[in-house]
């Protein structure tokens, strides 16, 4: 098992898949300002993807590039958490998904800045500045919608109920995560849960939203054992050009 490769793949696939999802809003957001803001976030995430998948490719040492990993793997090779691949739904669902991810991402990157692996620390150092802004924005919007009108409240509450069972996956270690933690590459995932729960509880209370009580957690994305049906559909969009015109560049 190549721990660094697997770890970088998981970090990279999270931001690749979520970045693509967010980019699907481009030209469709409810107002111009949000459209541009979402596109900016998507671009930040795709930029981070280049760094993580570049590292994953180098660690694998097979001469592949970040682009090869992004565009020439199929659904079962992806290692993103399931939350990232879930459909956009309405604007509230997109921003709730974004907040639930951003809140984890910020804590994770904070730990990774002191990774024993120099390149990991460097990527985290760069990404954390972008992500600090992402979480500020998604948090404010979730609060605005939750503590907004009757309709916006109902919609983001429904989004929270739907998405929350996908949060647990970020905190469950398997062999790869344990090896990464032992090598000092990454923190123990379970150790991030306390800070995450605290941040999310505070945001939801400000947003007048109720966190689901069930502890049930979907899993299978980070290990690649089982993705949702949505990932394959997304990849047909994301990868069609390289599939139809192999090796095309511009």
């Amino acid at each position: 098992m190549n721990t660094l490769h697997e770890f970088a793949l998981r970090m990279g696939d999270n931001v690749l898949v979520l970045g693509h999802r967010v980019s699907e809003w481009c030209g469709h957001a409810p107002v111009l300002e949000e459209d541009i803001a979402l596109a900016n976030s998507a671009l930040d995430l795709i930029g981070q993807t280049q760094l993580w998948l570049g590292l994953a490719a180098d660690a694998e040492g097979s001469g592949k590039s970040a682009d090869d990993l992004a565009f020439l793997r199929d659904a079962w090779d992806f290692r993103n958490a399931l939350l990232c691949e879930l459909p956009n739904g309405d604007f509230g669902q997109t921003l709730m998904r974004q907040y639930l991810f951003d809140a984890w991402h910020l804590i994770m990157l904070g730990k990774l800045t002191s990774s024993s692996e120099e390149r990991v620390a460097e990527i985290a150092d760069k990404a954390i500045k972008e992500v600090s802004y992402h979480v500020e924005r998604s948090r404010d919007t979730v609060i605005g919608l939750g503590d907004g009108t009757e309709e916006s409240h109902a919609r983001v509450q429904a989004a929270l109920d739907y998405l929350y069972p996908y949060v647990g996956e970020f905190f469950v270690s398997d062999k790869v995560d344990e090896a990464a933690a032992r090598a000092g590459i990454a923190p123990r995932l379970e150790d991030l849960r306390g800070a995450y729960d605290l941040a999310v509880a505070e945001t939801m209370s400000e947003a007048t939203l109720k966190l689901p009580e069930s502890e049930f957690a979907h899993k299978g994305g980070r290990t690649g054992s089982m993705h949702t049906e949505h990932l394959g559909h997304m990849l047909t969009q994301m990868q069609w050009l390289q599939r139809a015109y192999p090796g095309a560049t511009w």
């Binding site: 107002v31 111009l32 300002e33 541009i36 803001a37 900016n40 802004y133 500020e136 924005r137 404010d140 605005g144």
Partner: protein, 94 residues
């Protein structure tokens, strides 16, 4: 209640320590979001060091129809312009 968010005017101070300049406007529900939106809409290409936003309704503007009385009287008073001084090149932009 209007469904439209209020309009905000955006002022940005660029890289070079100049004063804030009006760059455009946008809609936002409150001042905090207006700053965030301004960051996303107007500083994507590294244009800014500092952002001001002000709700457009708080700006009092001069009336175009009063152009004559407001501005014309100064046109004929050349002595108000410091055009008779030689300014050394070292001084730079004033």
């Amino acid at each position: 209640m209007s469904k439209e968010w209020p309009l905000w005017e955006v002022f940005i101070r660029g890289q070079h320590g100049l004063s804030h300049r009006h760059v455009g406007s946008l809609h936002a529900p409150d001042a905090e979001m207006a700053i965030k939106n301004a960051r996303d809409v107007y500083t994507r290409r590294n244009e800014g060091q500092s952002i001001w936003v002000v709700e457009a309704r708080h700006i009092t503007a001069s009336s175009p129809s009063e152009k004559g009385p407001l501005y014309e009287p100064s046109e004929s008073k050349v002595y108000r312009h410091p055009t008779f001084f030689d300014i050394p090149d070292d001084v730079g932009a004033m």
